[in-house]
């Protein structure tokens, strides 16, 4: 059973090529990818739950990271959902520690390669056995 990832960006956050590039690369690496644009952070968690994903990757380029991340963390806790959490995009170094403290597992900022992202996911997400009857 392939690893399932949600790659998502805000509807209004301007720019998307990084997120789309990573989504395509993960797909080509054999993962199942759900790509969405969210209006509010609540939709990220809603989709993640519905799709039962192993990984959530949020692309943030033009700000918005503090609110988006804190709201997502709050909801994940509330829904008791467990997933590997990654953010990518334009996240200042100075903010890195704070963001990791908020509960994000890994930040992929500019210069990160698709291979790094794939390696990270495969090292962190255990190989899944096929579900019974699947």
């Amino acid at each position: 059973m392939p690893i399932k990832c949600l790659i998502t960006k805000s509807q209004i956050d301007a720019h998307d090529k990084g997120a789309r590039f990573i989504a395509t690369a993960l797909k080509e690496a054999g993962m199942e990818v759900v790509y969405t644009r969210f209006a509010t952070p609540d939709e990220i968690v809603e989709t993640a739950l519905q799709e039962d994903v192993d990984v959530i990757g949020i692309s943030l380029l033009c700000g918005g990271y503090t609110y988006t991340i804190s709201r997502v963390m709050e909801l994940l806790k509330e829904k008791k959902m467990d997933a590997l959490l990654m953010v990518g995009g334009q996240i200042p170094d100075d903010e890195g520690e704070r963001i990791l403290e908020m509960g994000i597992d890994r930040i992929f900022s500019q210069g990160a390669t698709a291979a790094e992202v794939i390696d990270y996911i495969t090292s962190k997400v255990p190989k899944k056995e096929p579900a019974p009857g699947a």
């Binding site: 209006a39 033009c62 700000g63 990271y65 390669t113």
Partner: protein, 566 residues
Amino acid sequence: MFSKEAIEISEELQRSWKERRAQMYKGFEFEGTTDSEIPLKTVYSPQDIDSINFKEIGMPGEYPYTRGVYPLQYQYQPLMAQQGFGYGLPENTRERYEYLRAEGMTGYRGMEAPYNVSPDIPGIVGLDPDDPEARGWVGWSGPSISTIRDFEILFDGLPLDRTHIAFFGVSDPSIVFMALLCAYLEKRGIPLEKMNGNVNNCFIAQNTYYDQPHLEGEGALKVATELVKFCSKRMPRWGTLNCHGYSIEESGGTAAQEVAFVISCAIELTRACIKVGLDPDVFVPRFSMQLACGRDFFEQIAKIRAARRIWAKIFKERFGCKNPKALQLRIHIQTAGAAMTYQQPLNNALRACLFTLSAILGGVQAVWTTTYDEAYSLPCEEAQILALRTRQIIMEESNIPNVTDPLGGSYYMEWLTSKVEEETFELIDEIERMGGFVKCWGTGWLKGEIDRAYRKWKESIEKGEKTLVGVNKYVIPEEKRPIKFSMDPKWEEMAIERIKDFKAKRDNEEVKRALEELRIVSQKVNEEWPSGGDLMPALIDAAKANATLGEMSKILKTEFGWRFTY
């Protein structure tokens, strides 16, 4: 272009060059391309440009304007320093404007410092700061401006009729920002007729670059046309289309894609304007282009020269324009932001210098030099000043601007200009065959083409086939890069409080009436196109009644359709 004798001599010289080359570099082959994958020779000679008609190159200020749109260039009209600088609240932006003005952010001859307004992320999709979707993004990438009160903070006390004002990075809500500006100007008693400036008013960026929802193809075209219609009558000096090629380059598009897509967009808008009864000799002179200058130095210059030539030919031959101003393409360059790296940020200052130099050698009208901290934050003051100084050193110390189009006549430059022109025309014609710009945009074809070009480039960087200094070559372990600019979270709260207060204190009955009137007019304009009436006066009335950006935009979104491309 050359005499038979000159070509014979050149061929003879080339023969001996070839022999010598074969002798010296036995078996060595060099295969260079431009960033857009145009294959290159290692040297160019007269025979490479012999087939070009000399008139195609011509003189500055003469059709087809390859060498520039005016007979004198920077010797008379300085390059406008059209920096982007806004952030946070309108007062933060105003403060930064005053600072840069004092440091020599100069405008056209006899004009005040230009004032670039690129609204924040919610603003460019027509959302007020108190909208739930705006949460977290208020004041990022530009100031939060959504009411006539915000315009007062931005502009009060400034001699606006001597200031070039530009709304940058705004696609669909261009018309709403213009309505707010017009309402503000009327309040201050400044005649609209006297205003200089421009607005993007193009439907490229939101779709191809920002990945934001946007007005439905035909709807976007109608709304853009309504703005041109209004300005043609009331704001004769205002630029009504500053077509956003920058977004195509930044998304990974090639030089030919960048120019072809913006010109195709202009063609589509021109057709729509003719349909509503406007004369292209009147409105096309107010069209311009915002292109990028990025990595490939010579290709960028060739692109600028080719863009001017193609524009002139299309509007002369395909639209029969007689007014020379309709054939003279004015270009604003924003130097590439996507080429700026997060690693070793000071390298970006050198990149920005090269990009700015290519814009100046291309002979453009205005430049926004991107700051070295582009890849990790909004510009800090130091970076802004360095960007300004870059332009000042090139323009005022180097003697480069003494001569117009100094690369004109270079075998390589003329060959490359013609090559970019040829590829661009092929793309423009392909788009025409497929039913025009709006159609190609709506089906996602356009975005798919750019995506493919980007993927190719990005993979070549990841594989190390192309060099990105500090990223895939000459990498050094780096300390944490301190950010010199940070957003105060208080600003978002203040913007939200402020608009709530604004909405509470205005005459809400009057707002309701004006918005209902706007809805009726919008519906009529849409359904009875092209003779359904005028959209802009209803928008200005609503703005005068203190309707907000979000309220007016919401009506346009509902009436004209609002969606993602795919």
